[in-house]
């Protein structure tokens, strides 16, 4: 209860949490919220400006933009969870084991590979992986997840390095506790705070990256409504239907801002140095 009150005091973090809750609700109840089928083309309603029937207007195929934005939330939330999930599945165990055992593998193999991976500009790396594996949501997620993994390796390893010399870890070792139990039972729970913060901020980047790849035509493929691919299609309509670009972009902005606010709020709340 005390923790909850502390978090509530970081106002912006709460705003972020509310935005993300809104995104989750939007994605879950898309079929209830959206007034039209997002993929149905109505040639009698092409390029209608926002009005009482089509709140965000319609696109060049007569599809309702509001409904497509609502359904786009499903892709964005999947992008956030899947890309960060892949990054954590790769990064957290590697960071835990290399930080705990250290030695040649840690210093000369894993950390140097991490250095090398971080040398590749993230979006360019994701573009290249998507190009090689082929366009599509799954490959885009894999590309983004691989791109995010080094950050999780670094953060987890850094935490383990500071925790492995703590007295309670020495005590656990001295009573003969197995390494795996020390790592997962004692080190991981105490290393979780910065990993959670990183995951929240990475979700914001994951949504942006998915939208960027979809905008470039390498992520979600039409007709599936994704905010990035909607902007791609709307770009050719800038002079006749600028409104078609307003809402998908605004949706990306608000959701990414939500994750960034939550990440900042969690940082203030979970970081003992900034926690008041």
């Amino acid at each position: 209860m005390k923790n909850w009150k502390l978090f509530m005091r970081s106002g912006m973090g709460v705003v972020g949490a509310i935005i993300i809750l809104g995104l989750i609700l939007c994605a879950t109840f898309a079929s209830v919220i959206a007034p039209y089928d997002p993929n149905v083309q109505d040639y009698n309603s092409i390029l209608l400006e926002p009005n009482s029937e089509h709140w965000f207007g319609t696109d060049d195929l007569g599809r309702d933009i509001f409904s497509r934005v609502v359904y786009g939330a499903q892709i964005s939330i999947k992008a956030a969870i899947v890309s960060v999930g892949i990054a954590m599945i790769i990064g957290v165990p590697i960071g835990l084991f290399t930080g705990y055992y250290r030695g040649f593998w840690d210093e000369w193999v894993v950390m140097r590979v991490v250095d090398a991976m971080q040398a590749f500009p993230f979006l360019i790396l994701a573009l290249a992986i998507s190009a090689v594996l082929g366009a599509g949501f799954g490959n885009a997620m894999l590309a983004i997840g691989i791109g995010f993994a080094p950050a999780f390796i670094r953060i987890t390893r850094g935490q383990v390095l500071s925790l492995r010399n703590m007295e309670y870890i020495h005590a656990a070792k001295s009573v003969g506790m197995k390494d795996s139990r020390i790592i997962f039972g004692h080190i991981l729970p105490n290393a979780l705070s910065p990993i959670i913060i990183q995951a929240t901020l990475a979700m914001a980047s994951g949504i942006l990256a998915e939208a960027s790849l979809s905008y470039l035509g390498l992520g979600v493929q039409p007709p599936t409504p994704s905010w990035g691919s909607m902007l791609n299609q709307a770009q050719s309509l800038l002079s006749v239907a600028p409104y078609a670009t307003y809402y998908p972009g605004l949706a990306i902005f608000v959701v990414v801002l939500g994750f960034n606010l939550l990440g900042d709020g969690l940082q203030q709340y979970l970081n003992p140095r900034t926690r008041k």
């Binding site: 090398a116 991976m117 500009p121 290249a128 902007l231 800038l238 670009t245």
Partner: protein
């Protein structure tokens, strides 16, 4: 000196790994890369010729060392679609990207330095909250959306600036600057958000240090205290951030160049991806990674020059 040597030595394994990863790219293509590049209708002769050109008929270790040997001599291979050396393609595209990068940094600094200082000096006031929230907003805006909004306002509705196109500076300086203004502004806004946050937090730390308090106690006015003493120290981490920004910026330029039709390095990558010109993609990715490694190395060395504590060994760890 030891720091410089250690830092240089550390770069070697990174570059080797970068080369291995880049080389592996073509081998990550599911199935036979030559078949994927040429398509199923290709003649057996064309297929065999491409396999030989890419060196796919040799053992993989031989392939890697042959490729590396060529790369070291500046030969990044031949573009599959354009039949031009990839190195030439990249060199043709780099000037526009360099111009865009410099313009972006100028815009970012013009916005970030005054707002960062103001937010730090007026810490925990409405100025600080507004600046910090705006910066977070700036970091959350997808740059392709911001670019489209800017095109709608500046080009479609008001015709103040061109929406796309590029004229080299040497041909027509005025047209060049007009064409680059919007892309630099859009990319610079986003980068300024990160720089501003960094400068603010760095300055807030420095403002509470003893030497600043002493300067204050001696009656130095706030402007001189901040500009003459605190800012110099606060800029050290900002220099590092600027170096780290280069990787993100190169990624961001892929999008900016595509939207504004700037024939730069980023657009070359996107074009090559769609043309399935994997050799060009490979070469461009290698160049971008090497660029990041070199810039990070220079920033670290610069960091050591401006902060003597690094040379003393503090920053040489890890």
């Amino acid at each position: 000196m030891m720091f410089v040597v250690k830092r240089l030595l550390l770069t070697i394994p990174i570059l080797i790994l970068v080369s291995i990863m880049t080389f592996s790219l073509i081998h990550m293509i599911p199935g036979d890369p030559a078949r994927v590049i040429l398509g199923q209708e290709a003649t057996p002769e064309a297929y065999e010729a491409l396999r030989a050109e890419l060196g796919l008929d040799k053992p993989i270790v031989t392939q890697y060392f042959t490729w590396l040997g060529n790369v070291v001599q500046g030969d990044l291979g031949m573009s599959i679609t354009d039949r031009v050396p990839v190195a030439d393609l990249i060199l043709q595209r780099l000037p526009a990207t360099i111009e865009l990068t410099i313009g972006t940094f100028i815009f970012a600094l013009i916005i970030a330095i005054p707002t960062g200082i103001l937010a730090a000096v007026r810490r925990n006031t409405w100025i600080d909250y507004t600046a910090s929230f705006t910066a977070l907003g700036g970091m959350s805006i997808p740059n392709f959306w911001l670019a489209l909004m800017a095109i709608i306002y500046f080009s479609v509705e008001n015709q103040w600036l061109p929406s796309s196109g590029y004229v080299p500076f040497s041909e027509d300086p005025k047209a060049n600057l007009m064409a680059m203004l919007l892309p630099c502004m859009v990319t610079g806004l986003r980068e300024s958000a990160m720089l501003m946050r960094m400068l603010r937090s760095s300055l807030v730390e420095v403002v509470h240090m003893d030497f600043v308090r002493t300067a204050k106690a001696k009656g130095l006015n706030e402007v001189r205290m901040v500009l003459g003493h605190a800012l110099r120290n606060a800029l050290i981490p900002v220099v590092t951030t600027s170096g780290l920004m280069i990787a993100g910026l190169l990624g961001g330029l892929v999008i900016t160049e595509s939207i504004f039709s700037i024939p730069g390095f980023g657009r070359l990558i996107v074009e090559s991806v769609f043309k399935r010109d994997y050799v060009t993609v490979q070469g461009a990715i290698l160049v971008s990674a090497v660029l990041v490694v070199v810039v990070n190395l220079l920033v670290d060395l610069l960091y050591a020059v401006i902060d003597p504590r690094i040379k003393a060994g503090k920053g040489a760890e890890g």
